[in-house]
């Protein structure tokens, strides 16, 4: 692709959203025969079901049926890979909030009254809730995952200094505003159609087929949009989809299930919480020669995507730094809590936070600015004068590094140095109010760790009136994917975006798709859609060239017109009609797979990422010593989006990602009681950032470079996940402020809530 695509298209559904006419799953008009489902959840975290009496529920008015594990025709499993996520608990209960039965009723009101009649008798076993308990019982889900290079154990003896420490990193609830939702509509001859709020329609198709013992071609899955997902609808949407499918097949009626907020928070998995222990060796200048980090992860009651998340955590544990001798280890612990799952960054944020902590502590030890330590350890930029090649610990050559240049520019534009000095002067005299500032970098790898997932398909139809229909495997969760892909197709034909119709993701139209995740939605689907459109355009050009006796390359598609030798011959619509009359196929599929990536999971080596995204942020905070209360005063961001396809959308992703990261690191706290009850199961107790929690002064800039060195669509770069980790700058700004309150290193844990900040000063 030579032409550059830049546009400021508004979100494709913006008009529908502002008028309340955008349809989410719960808004789909259903026939009055549609039945509603309410779930019965376990009240204990670990034990056996001794007795289950549901007949009284069935006898209540408006109740059609109550289903349990016995009603599943196929497999009782909703897991993405490992077969260990029961849809309904059978004999055993493994977490508090686990689904045991489902009430199918005429209305939700009926079900809510009837559920009180359910009687379940458990025999309880003490649950394993905390990581400490899990370590003690050694409940490893699999052998530890390791990424290593060089020889940590022997090389650390050659270091001038050695530091050991530990950081506790909290989990995070997704809190997509739209809860999990699914609707199943039975069709003729056992076929079934599922509407679901899911990032992964093909996986829903697989799970539903397995649960109902059907072939994949009996099941179609449609996703128009999600009201937010952030990874929380990658595997977690399987469960509601399976339940509505079972209910619809059993009753022969459409069935709908929408989790209410409390149920959603109790049932679904979250970001993994970690305890990361480190040991680092470095010289008098702060250059690291050996580093060991052991991440202990709370995975919850099943594997879910934890193995891949652990791998990504390990692959980001060196963040932007070249470290010759490393040993990164992840221990995956099973606990009696919801199964933790994908969440924006997919383990990357936890890995990086631990690394940045190491840097911060080295700087404190050497009494140097952490930024100095960061710079001394960065990978070399790709334009480094020595032309030296460096590899990550997992053997990928870092070809596209720009972190030194990017950080230098941000340091300059944000006035970092003078502000830091000023703040330190301020802290010397201010007794109660302390300020802090930090600059942290991000280097994030783009591609799915699992090779197979790096593929995408698209379908493009041009109709005889010149209107265009587009379908692809990616799903829209607010990230603006559809807006971008539509623009790519429109540019290919030289027409306006609003002539291209975007349609709901549908397993009938594009099969065997991957999850929309790993920030790769536009890279993969944009390219597939481009290839589909390009083939049609080539066919049209060949035919028109034949009509006008010129080469097909001389047929230009521009501004809705066909131009040959600088002369407007016809509109795109007329061209479409002519081609149709001339019996030219105006429909095409496109298929794309990311080139040049490979991964040897056994050895933990390869080139798992097509490219890296870089960024950095400077945050300034202020805290009140007496209460631990804090706020973010300002943030300066310089982020690399390559050559942006839609700057407004990319900026929105950066701002939204940053604030979500800020929530994770400063206020969102998940609390489980000893018996495994989630105490923070509603927005009353679980606080996500609100309007006045976001920074007062914002300054977001795109890094001006040459674009992606790899041949992505428009040389753009993925933008979904990387900005999330820019919020680490907030966390280390707290650390800076706290350092003025004590001699020893303030070992701050995340989230840095008021309590955390208050107690860390002592």
């Amino acid at each position: 692709m030579s032409k550059s695509i830049v546009n400021e298209d508004f979100h494709d559904s913006a008009k529908l959203h502002v008028t309340g006419r955008a349809i989410y799953v719960d808004d789909i008009p259903v026939p009055s025969s549609c039945l509603h489902i309410l779930l019965g959840l376990s009240k204990i975290a670990n034990g056996k079901i001794m007795e289950m009496e549901l007949n009284d529920v069935k006898k209540m008015p408006g109740i059609i049926d109550v289903i349990t594990a016995k009603d599943i025709p196929g497999k009782n499993d909703a897991s993405p890979i490992f077969g260990d996520d029961p849809i309904f608990a059978e004999n055993e209960v493994i977490y508090n909030g686990q689904v045991i039965f489902a009430i199918i009723a005429e209305t939700l009101e009926h079900a809510k009254i009837a559920i009180k009649e359910a009687k379940i008798v458990y025999s309880e076993t003490p649950p394993i809730i905390t990581l400490a308990q899990a370590r003690h019982k050694e409940t490893l889900l699999c052998p530890p995952k390791i990424v290593s290079r060089g020889d940590f154990s022997s090389s650390i003896h050659h270091s001038d200094h050695i530091i050991e420490g530990e950081i506790v990193i909290g989990g995070q609830e997704h809190f997509y505003l739209e809860g999990q939702a699914a609707l199943a509509v039975p069709k003729e001859n056992k076929d079934i159609q599922i509407f679901v709020s899911s990032q992964h329609p093909s996986e829903i198709q697989h799970k539903v087929a397995a649960v109902l013992s059907l072939a994949l071609n009996n099941v179609s899955v449609e996703v128009r949009r999600m009201g937010g997902a952030f990874g929380g609808k990658e595997s977690q949407a399987n469960l509601p989809a399976c339940i509505v499918a079972i209910a619809a097949q059993k009753t022969g009626k459409p069935c709908k299930l929408v989790y209410d907020r409390d149920d959603d928070m109790r049932i679904t998995g979250k970001r993994h919480d970690f305890i990361s222990a480190y040991k680092v060796g470095f010289d008098a200048n702060g250059v690291i020669n050996a580093l060991r980090i052991q991440h202990d992860m709370r995975c919850g009651m099943s594997m879910d995507l934890s193995a891949a998340i652990a791998e990504r955590a390990l692959m980001h544990s060196e963040n932007s730094y070249y470290i010759p001798n490393v040993e990164f280890i992840a221990n995956l612990y099973k606990t009696n809590t919801p199964s933790n799952t994908a969440f924006r960054g997919f383990g990357g944020p936890q890995g990086m936070l631990a690394m940045e902590r190491v840097i911060d502590e080295i700087a404190h030890f050497l009494k140097l600015d952490p930024l100095t330590i960061r710079k001394r350890n960065f990978y070399l930029d790709n334009k480094n004068p020595m032309q030296k090649e460096q590899q990550t610990p997992y053997g990928q050559v870092v070809k596209d590094c720009i972190i030194n240049d990017l950080v230098n520019k941000l340091e300059y534009s944000s006035n970092y140095l003078s502000r830091r000095k000023e703040i330190e002067r301020f802290n010397k005299t201010s007794k109660l109010i302390k300020r802090g500032i930090a600059l942290t970098p991000v280097k994030f790898g783009i591609s799915f760790n699992k090779l197979m997932l790096n593929q995408a398909g698209a379908l493009v139809n041009v109709y005889s009136d010149g209107s265009v229909y587009l379908n692809h495997g990616g799903t829209e969760m607010g990230q603006g994917l559809f807006t971008k892909v539509r623009k790519i197709v429109a540019s290919t034909f030289g027409i306006l975006s609003n002539n291209v119709k975007i349609s709901a993701t549908d397993t009938n139209k594009v099969p065997n798709t991957s999850a929309t995740a790993a920030s790769s939605g536009t890279d993969l689907n944009g390219m597939a859609a481009y290839l589909a459109a390009f083939q049609i355009k080539e066919r049209m050009a060949a035919y028109l060239g034949h009509l006008y006796q010129c080469e097909s390359s001389e047929v230009i598609f521009s501004r809705g017109k066909i131009i040959i030798f600088d002369e407007e011959k016809m509109t795109f619509s007329q061209a479409a009609e002519k081609c149709w009359m001339g019996r030219i196929s105006l429909s095409s599929t496109g298929f794309y797979k990311t080139p040049d990536i490979y991964w040897d999971a056994e050895k933990g080596e390869g080139r798992p990422f097509y490219y890296f995204v870089y960024g950095a942020a400077v945050s300034e905070i202020v805290i009140d010593k007496l209460t631990g209360e804090s706020r973010v005063v300002s943030v300066d961001i310089l982020h690399d989006v390559g050559r942006s396809i839609n700057p407004s959308i990319d900026r929105g992703q950066i701002e939204g990602g940053f604030v979500q990261g800020l929530g994770w690191l400063s206020m969102e706290e998940l609390v489980y009681a000893n018996d495994g009850t989630l105490m923070t199961h509603s927005p009353a107790t679980y606080k996500i950032p609100a309007f006045s929690d976001s920074p007062i002064n914002w300054n977001v800039e795109f890094y001006k470079g040459d674009g992606n060195i790899e041949e992505t669509i428009n040389r753009s770069k993925a933008v979904g996940e990387p900005p999330f980790m820019l919020a680490m700058s907030v966390f280390f700004a707290y650390s800076h402020a706290l350092a003025s309150l004590k001699e020893s290193y303030p070992s701050l844990n995340s989230p840095a809530t008021a309590e955390q900040l208050y107690f860390t000063q002592f």
Binding site: T19, R21, E109, L177, G228, S682, P683, I688
Partner: protein, 159 residues
Amino acid sequence: MTEVTLTVNGKKYTQNVFDHVLLSDFIREKLKLTGTHIGCDTSQCGACVIHLDGKSIKSCTMLAVQADGCDVLTIEGLADGDVLHPMQRAFHENHGLQCGFCTPGMIMSAIELIKGKPDITEQEIRQGLEGNLCRCTGYQNIVKSIQEAAKNENNLTNR
């Protein structure tokens, strides 16, 4: 069951409802006006904000029977045919949304917040909308949208 009569977006409805049915559910389930969203059901998120007799309220905080005799305006009743309300236009043009789930509630809350305040400050907007959560945008573009709409306050038709 109780009979309630209320005017919604200019249309009069008389319906029988259970006494415990929330106004939000009534609007969505009975009237099929699904632009009013449910994000929490516990008066925390603001996705369900509507106008009741000209004042913005969280419709999940109120029973349908309590709204008997009232005048309700939902997001669907805001635009004049194809012509967007200035607040809707501002959200549309300033990228004030991503997934869009919070948008109807944001717009309904914002309209009341800026009423008669063309010079509303960013600080006032942020404080005034503490009760509306958005998980996607980081709020920046929402603030921008509202500020722009406030500037055009004079043109706001107060329907």
